[in-house]
């Protein structure tokens, strides 16, 4: 490997590479939560689902030797958590937020408990697709090692938009999310639709978790998630319940997360706590500028408990 000094150019490169590497779990969880919230329910438990997905994906990949099977199992485990959330929320007078917090703890705790034996072993990781073979620069080649899950996430974005806006099922989901009364009047099963969308959201969150353990950083440990799941839930509000904005917001968060280490690597060494906090400062600023005391969030589903 020849060394090429990119100097300060390596910062934007690292932010770009980081945006792709770090953003994938944000992308999957926020797309999943977007779907769930569009049906009128908030599942705060996705942090637990993410951690459980990371653990189960890693364990299955280790036991079977197939990383993709791990991703599938992580997704299925995620949808089971979604099903649990939905079934309990379907009962009268259940607060979806409180339940979400409970499920967050359950998911994390179960993952730690069952994952004890999988901290040590090395499981097969997901393959990456090399798009940088045209470049002689090792950093560029490495930045363009794109994981297949990111590409799947990329395809999911327009698919979800199409699903929500141009299909009968999407319309049903949005109706349930915007007005329970209207949905009932048409004869839609409100509980059924919400159960489906929470399960689908859980599936995506589980897959997002498996990305953490199976690709980047690429191994299961109890400190693996530093709140990516809960951040992604917040991203959905920030992204105005629009899958395309979810994608942008995830990229932004991924890139901001890569900024701290990248700046230190080129020798800008002071203020790293501040740079490490960049994603959160960014969220605060955008939230402050986009909030309003007079009208509710544009695009917010009408039945969502936090905006109702």
């Amino acid at each position: 490997m020849e060394a090429v000094d990119l100097g300060l150019w390596s910062v934007p490169l690292a932010v770009f590479a980081g945006a792709i590497r770090v953003s994938t779990p944000f992308l999957f969880v926020s797309l999943g939560e977007c779907l769930t919230e569009r049906s009128g329910r908030i599942n705060l438990g996705l942090e637990g689902t993410l951690v459980f997905g990371a653990m189960s994906g890693y364990a299955v990949s280790y036991l079977t030797g197939s990383a993709w099977l791990g991703v599938l199992v992580a997704g299925l485990a995620g949808s089971l958590f979604g099903l649990l959330h939905a079934l309990i929320c379907n009962m009268p007078k259940v607060n979806d937020i409180a339940l979400g917090i409970a499920l967050m703890m359950l998911g994390t705790g179960l993952a730690f408990f069952l994952g004890k034996n999988y901290i040590q072993p090395q499981a097969p990781n997901l393959p990456a697709i090399s798009l940088g073979s045209w470049s002689d620069l090792a950093p560029v080649r490495s930045a363009l090692e794109i994981n297949a899950l990111f590409i799947i996430g990329l395809i999911l974005v327009p698919s979800l938009i199409f699903f929500l806006n141009h299909t009968r099922w999407g319309l049903m989901l949005r109706t349930v999310g915007d007005s329970e009364d209207a949905a009932r009047a048409i004869g839609f099963s409100v509980k059924g639709v919400r159960t489906f969308s929470t399960m689908a959201g859980g599936f995506l969150a589980g897959v997002g978790g498996s990305f953490l353990s199976l690709y980047y950083p690429g191994s299961w440990s109890e400190g693996l998630s530093s709140g990516q799941g809960i951040t992604a839930v917040a991203l959905v509000i920030f992204a105005r319940w629009n899958p395309l904005y979810c994608f942008y917001a995830s990229l932004l968060f991924g890139g901001a997360g890569a900024l701290g280490p990248a700046l230190q690597a080129v020798g800008i060494t002071s203020g790293y706590y501040l740079f490490n906090a960049a994603p959160y400062i960014l969220t605060l600023i955008i939230m402050i500028f986009s909030s309003s005391s007079t009208h509710r969030f544009a695009g917010a589903p009408g039945e969502l408990s936090v905006t109702r």
Binding site: I119, S142, P217, G218, S221, Q264
Partner: protein, 377 residues
């Protein structure tokens, strides 16, 4: 409230019987522990998972070595945060398991948590890893132990100095505390003993266990042309794996990560807590006085180095082995003047020599010349 009236004489009586039974249970338990006599329970508290390929695993391996000593029962709790949680854990180990000797192993457990609990239970012994026990300031039933792992880091630096072609080394560190800075400095000085032009680029992640940031830091370092990376974080697994994936060399820390990087793993700085814990417990069982401050390096067997990986040249082995022999003889001094920090100030004057046991080194607050990084956050 009507609830009050619901307490009938019968339920009161039933309650009293229950309390009586409990009393009987507890008294019989007391008898039981008294009868067991020789068995002493020793408690270990870890900040993370005890199989993390790192800090906690090193301690857990040490604790496991105690299990073979007759009359010793080891209890452990993992994932205990450096907050009031650790006080609760210590209290429950004391009150529920009758633990006599406690090892809270994480840096942040010492002050105020362990000190508080120790002041309450004066007849028990508390030994902390990493803290600096000071006579008069800290209770007599507490103590601290630590190893001069920077000796092993110096040797890693020597090996890294030979392996590096770009003359740029990388160091992923958690937080700029003296122990971490000392490791960074010793690693760099070791490498510079091979080639004075070598630099070490440091990235602080801001936390002991931040897998995503550690991976990101390692990638950033590699993008800058770093070709040997080492670290001081709780779980080096992610860093060593990332280095191996990107095809560069790595030096391990805490425990051996050789199996994670069969091609690029050079050597590593490892703890040998089994020795420290066995010594402590043997003298405790004999009823000897336990020293309040225990320190030791390669010579005392508190730290060790990983076996050399396949990429280490014969020349590097020879050099590192020669320095190691000097450490074993107690003759080698890493911090020998003149040493300048990376801002150009002289931190150790010419002719001055701070040997390993020098307490001044335990409050290190600078990075030596050749390290690219900043102690201030």
């Amino acid at each position: 409230m009507s609830v009050k009236n619901n307490i009938s004489r019968r339920s009161v009586l039933r309650g009293m019987v229950g309390v009586g039974a409990l009393g009987m249970v507890s008294s019989s338990m007391l008898v039981k522990t008294a009868m067991a006599g020789g068995t002493v329970t020793i408690g270990f508290v870890y900040v993370g998972a005890k199989d993390d390929y790192g800090y906690n695993q090193a301690h857990a391996e040490g604790a496991a070595a105690l299990k073979s000593i007759p009359g010793v029962k080891v209890i452990e709790e993992e994932n205990v945060a450096e907050t009031n949680d650790v006080q609760k854990t210590l209290e429950s180990m004391i009150n529920l398991d009758d633990t006599k000797l406690l090892f809270p192993t994480s840096f942040g457990y010492f002050d105020p948590h362990m000190l508080k609990v120790a002041a309450k239970y004066k007849d028990l012994t508390f030994l902390h890893c990493g803290g600096l026990w000071t006579e008069g300031k800290h209770p007599a039933n507490t103590g601290s132990y630590f190893g001069y792992i920077d000796e092993a880091q110096y040797l890693s630096g020597v090996v890294a100095g030979y392996a590096s072609k770009t003359k740029k080394l990388g160091f992923v560190a958690a937080i700029p505390i003296p122990q971490v800075l000392r490791n960074i400095n010793s690693f760099t000085l070791g490498a510079q003993s091979v080639d004075p032009s070598i630099t070490t680029q440091v990235i602080f992640t801001g936390g002991w266990s931040e897998p995503v940031k550690e991976a990101e830091a390692t990638n950033s370092l590699i993008d800058q042309g770093v070709d040997v990376v080492t670290c001081h974080v709780d779980g080096p697994k992610v860093i060593v794996e990332t280095a191996e994936k990107r095809g560069i060399y790595s030096c391990g820390y805490h425990a051996s990560q050789a199996s994670l990087a069969p091609k690029g793993y050079l050597t590593g700085a490892e703890w040998n807590w089994a020795k420290v814990y066995t010594d402590y417990v043997t003298s405790y069982l004999k009823g000897e006085e336990i020293p309040n401050l225990v320190r030791g390096g390669l010579k005392e067997g508190v730290v060790k180095t990983s076996a050399y990986g396949p990429a280490v040249s014969a020349e590097a082995r020879e050099h590192a082995d020669a320095v190691k022999a000097q450490f074993m003889a107690g003759e080698f001094v890493i911090y020998k003047g003149e040493i300048k920090d990376n801002k150009g100030n002289v931190v150790i004057a010419a002719g001055q020599s701070n040997s390993q046991t020098d307490i001044a080194l335990e409050s290190m607050d600078y990075l030596v010349s050749g390290v690219i990084g900043d102690v201030r956050s």
